[in-house]
Symmetry: C2
Amino acid sequence: MKIAVDAMGGDYAPTEVVKGVELARDAYPDLEFLLYGQAEKVTPLLTDTTRITVMPAPEVITMEDEPVRAIRRKKQSSIVLAATAVREGEADAFLSAGNSGAVLAAGLLIVGRIKGIDRPGLTTTLPVLQKPDQSSFVMLDVGANADTKPFNVVQYAVMGQYYAQSIMNVKNPRVGLLNNGTEADKGDQNHRAIHDALAGMDSINFVGNVESRDLLSGVADVVVTDGFTGNATLKAIEGTALSMLKLIKGEIMSGGLGGKLGAAMLKPVFKNVRSAMDYSQYGGAVLLGLKAPVVKTHGSSKAGTIKNTIAQIHELLETHSAEQLVSYFDQHTDEMAALKESLK
Amino acid sequence: MKIAVDAMGGDYAPTEVVKGVELARDAYPDLEFLLYGQAEKVTPLLTDTTRITVMPAPEVITMEDEPVRAIRRKKQSSIVLAATAVREGEADAFLSAGNSGAVLAAGLLIVGRIKGIDRPGLTTTLPVLQKPDQSSFVMLDVGANADTKPFNVVQYAVMGQYYAQSIMNVKNPRVGLLNNGTEADKGDQNHRAIHDALAGMDSINFVGNVESRDLLSGVADVVVTDGFTGNATLKAIEGTALSMLKLIKGEIMSGGLGGKLGAAMLKPVFKNVRSAMDYSQYGGAVLLGLKAPVVKTHGSSKAGTIKNTIAQIHELLETHSAEQLVSYFDQHTDEMAALKESLK
């Protein structure tokens, strides 16, 4: 299994990306890496070139570049060359911590969609708190598409189901539709139509509408939504968790000696809380629906997160998740065509 | 100033509602109350009838009732009679902790919209954490409409601005549009159109797009969004805050003696955190855009929250917030007509 890695993307690139790749290489003897970047910067960082090939990519797509234009113009960039390697079958997956829009555009325009899937969906894994038999759930789309049609969300359910099976090792994942209430008739006309379509699909273990209030309690294994709402929900969860940790820290700091002593004693507790909320432990966001795994990790990723993300890609490749999707949509062309027609 | 109160709505009605009304009556000598409910249940709970008149309402709209149908059929319910009193000018505002949909429907269908406002928006106040010069912000629509048009969101900005002036005592509130990125061109076509419309309005202090990640950090005083996204964002904030407090508590409980000692020392810290996150301190959700304040508090409201909500209504009445909106939309009919046309 070979992974094409963008060595130039992210706040700590290329140093931390290279470090992360080396950690993953040491952990997974069955992985090889194509490391795309400016060779004069990347090569000196490598301590050991076993199963790592530096692939020269003189151009760099920056965070300021307009994604689609950058993909079209910077043909010699690490993102374009790495994605092209996947399309050409020279690599099995693509990983980047760089410009999100450019990574998504490269996935869509270069790697390409699975036949039968209208829109790929950006998928993230989030923690479930205080539930003994469930530690995480996946949500999509969290922002690949700002303009989503009901049929796209129905396809996300299938994609999310296979993903949860691969990554979370859940046999029959519970799929929920994010809505403004749990009753079947909640939401606008589109959401009622999506609800009814999902309820009618034999291949989906649909548990009905779910509310964003209950996500971290583990109300579903897979949560599907349009890219706009998913993005707002994901960022609200992130922002609230961070703000609360800051608030608690601030309150302790201004709380006098008792508070500081208490804080010292609670150090392990806060460490656990921070680690429970740290969803970089689950790797990056996966653009599902493409012919091969395309994974975007946080721009602030350090070596540990890069390594976790490669572990996630390893899992996706080992379970043949993309091939499973291909075969599902191949076998369900009639059902999909009928659903698309009915959701128009 | 006279407030019509639904004594029968909420998990702890009528006991806690009556208690809350009495607390508010004692705190605000300029307030009078019309207390709608089943007289045989409500009257015995009153310890002192000064400035409180029990208004018999034999029917009760339950949480299970379908809102619009209930409003039409249960003409003798506390919700219908209280809203009717406001329409008839017998009361200046309406408060309920009951069936949200029914309260919204009663506001819209009985109290009625301000001329020139297409859709009312449900408005909630949320805390800002760790910012010395800002303790809260308001967000609308958080769920009155599942099907929102761009023009509605533009009107929410005006409504939110007046509300923030009344309630938060901010002279020139910063208005932000919830979007999937901060740049001006983010979001779908609708969001770009809303952004440009708001940027072109002289009467709005528009600060551009904001992300849900930054809301609790105080990125704006007023955040406008469609009712579906607003609902998902509000519930994600609520759910994450609650889950984190539970997680921390769980970690402490399983943390051995050191953890428990630390927890004891940190008690005041957690009290402050809980109180900072408790947005019932700001009262209820206000359905803005109606001829008079219609306010819905949490179903789980106890006397203290009922009292806080009455304090909020007192503020709205004292600052003539509804009259200010009436006069704004009266003076801006041409601008509104042009905006509505351009946003079609």
